[in-house]
């Protein structure tokens, strides 16, 4: 056949970024340092290694949970797998579409109407106008925003905005779905609807990588676990074992959230 059986394969990927450390700002402690800090300070350059030698493979039907404390590199790894960041070293191979739901509430235009924002988001996600148009009845029904859809987004409440963003972003499942925290928003009833939608999305996709601090959720969805700490993989294997490992070692030595 020649078709690889993996969906996604990362081989020894590292990501290091140049960081620019501003000079010490001591305005708060010593107002007289204001001038020297603001005008005479030099920015120091350095390199931060966000991910180091991360290897993982996701095959058809596999669901991987990313486990680790805050700042371990889970979100960074997801963005790298989605192709937003490119690895500084190592290789990343994908087989099919790999898409994530990241910061879905950002990037909406407050002056534009809800409907226009649906079109914009749809187009930005790579759908054609015709496809977005076909999705609109479903989006309106799911978001329950039909009475407000011709009103500008800045008249929406925060909850309504999120509902709109979620409804558009979860319309189609990619081959590999990347989730940075489970998406749950709105009142109890909407939350339930959304849970069904998200579960559907997971069902439709051929593989899932989920980063969450919700252990119960991870147990119900994932089959495998990968423990990250300070940008390196410290454990990889069966989910229960991974959670145990995390509980014993990393989790007890660093603050859980």
């Amino acid at each position: 056949m020649g078709i690889a059986d993996f969906l996604l394969k990362a081989d020894q990927v590292s990501l290091s970024v140049p960081v620019f450390q501003p000079p010490d700002r001591q305005i708060m402690t010593n107002p007289l340092r204001f001038i020297s800090d603001l005008y005479l300070g030099r920015t120091h350059r350095g390199v931060a290694n966000l991910l180091e030698n991360v290897s993982l493979e996701l095959v058809q039907g596999e669901r991987l949970g990313l486990i680790g404390p805050n700042g371990a590199g889970k979100s960074t790894l997801l963005r790298l797998l989605a192709g937003i960041y490119a690895p500084t070293m190592g290789t990343l191979k994908t087989n099919g579409t790999v898409k994530g739901l990241f910061d879905i509430s950002l990037g909406m235009n407050p002056e534009a109407t809800g409907l226009e924002n649906i079109y914009m988001r749809g187009l930005q996600m790579g759908f054609e106008l015709r496809e977005v148009r076909e999705m609109i009845p479903q989006i309106l029904e799911f978001s329950e925003l039909e009475p407000f859809i011709e009103k500008p987004l800045n008249t929406y409440s925060t909850g309504m905005r999120l509902r709109l963003a979620v409804s558009v972003s979860t319309m189609r499942a990619p081959d590999v779905l990347l989730l940075d925290e489970w998406i749950g928003t709105g009142d109890a009833r909407f939350r339930e609807k959304l849970r069904d939608r998200m579960n559907n999305l997971v069902e439709q996709s051929r593989g899932l990588i989920l980063a969450t601090h919700n252990v119960e959720l991870m147990k119900s969805l994932c089959t495998k676990g990968l423990v990250l700490n300070k940008g390196t993989v410290v454990f990889q294997g069966d989910l229960t074992e991974a959670l145990e490992f995390y509980g014993d070692s990393v989790g007890s030595s660093s603050a859980k959230s």
């Binding site: 970024v17 963005r79 989605a82 192709g83 937003i84 960041y85 490119a86 898409k99 994530g100 990241f102 910061d103 879905i104 950002l106 990037g107 235009n109 002056e111 534009a112 226009e116 079109y119 914009m120 187009l123 930005q124 996600m125 790579g126 759908f127 054609e128 106008l129 500008p152």
Partner: protein, 251 residues
Amino acid sequence: MIKLSSLLYMTYFGFAVQYRKTMIGPVWVLLGPTLFIATLGFLFSEVSNIPTDVFIPHLSFGLLAWTLISGFVTGSTSVFQRSKAQIMQGGMTLLDIVAVDVMRTVLHFLHQLVIVVVVFLVFDLPWTLYSWVSLLGLVILIANGTWLTMFFGIVGVRYRDLFEVVSAIMRIAFLATPIIWMPGEFGRGGVMGAFMSYNPFYHFLEIVRAPLLGQVVSSLSWVVVAVFTVFGFAITSIFYRRLKQRVPLWV
């Protein structure tokens, strides 16, 4: 890459929404330069002692071409910052974002073509075969705007100072380029020659403006523009290939 038709729709939406809260919407795109030309046109033709039927076409076409150039130059420095959400969500590539930004600037410019038509009618300017060269000049100008948007976009996302630098330069360049003043009878050979020969903005302006005014574009202008086009695209493609992966980290 997103399909061109989708990018066009995005451009249109972005443009339409930009004026959402105004009373007369995109008419402002016309009103601004019209007021400029109407007031300063008469003032400066008086000051520089040039008949209005010579000066106003020169000012109008120059101002509109300048608006396009300066739209590219100043807009480019923050193009990726403005699309941070789209970059971080992973839907749009840098090329998509640049394409939408360039098309929006061009759409803005196309509205102002009404002014060109009005000036042609009011001053009864002749439209000759050579006038079509202006269209070629416009295409070349937009092509250069494209590489510039990518180039300054990448540099500007790393060094936020670029926006400040560029704004300062563009203010000076507007006054240093013959738009609200005309080169004397000696042209580039005169005392003001340096402000033309060594001013790339002048050459880009000329390939669009001169054919409309019934003047011949000098070969120097074609050479300068050709050099900028070739080197611009070459350098930008190297920059793009090397640094496109860094943009999401910097933005």
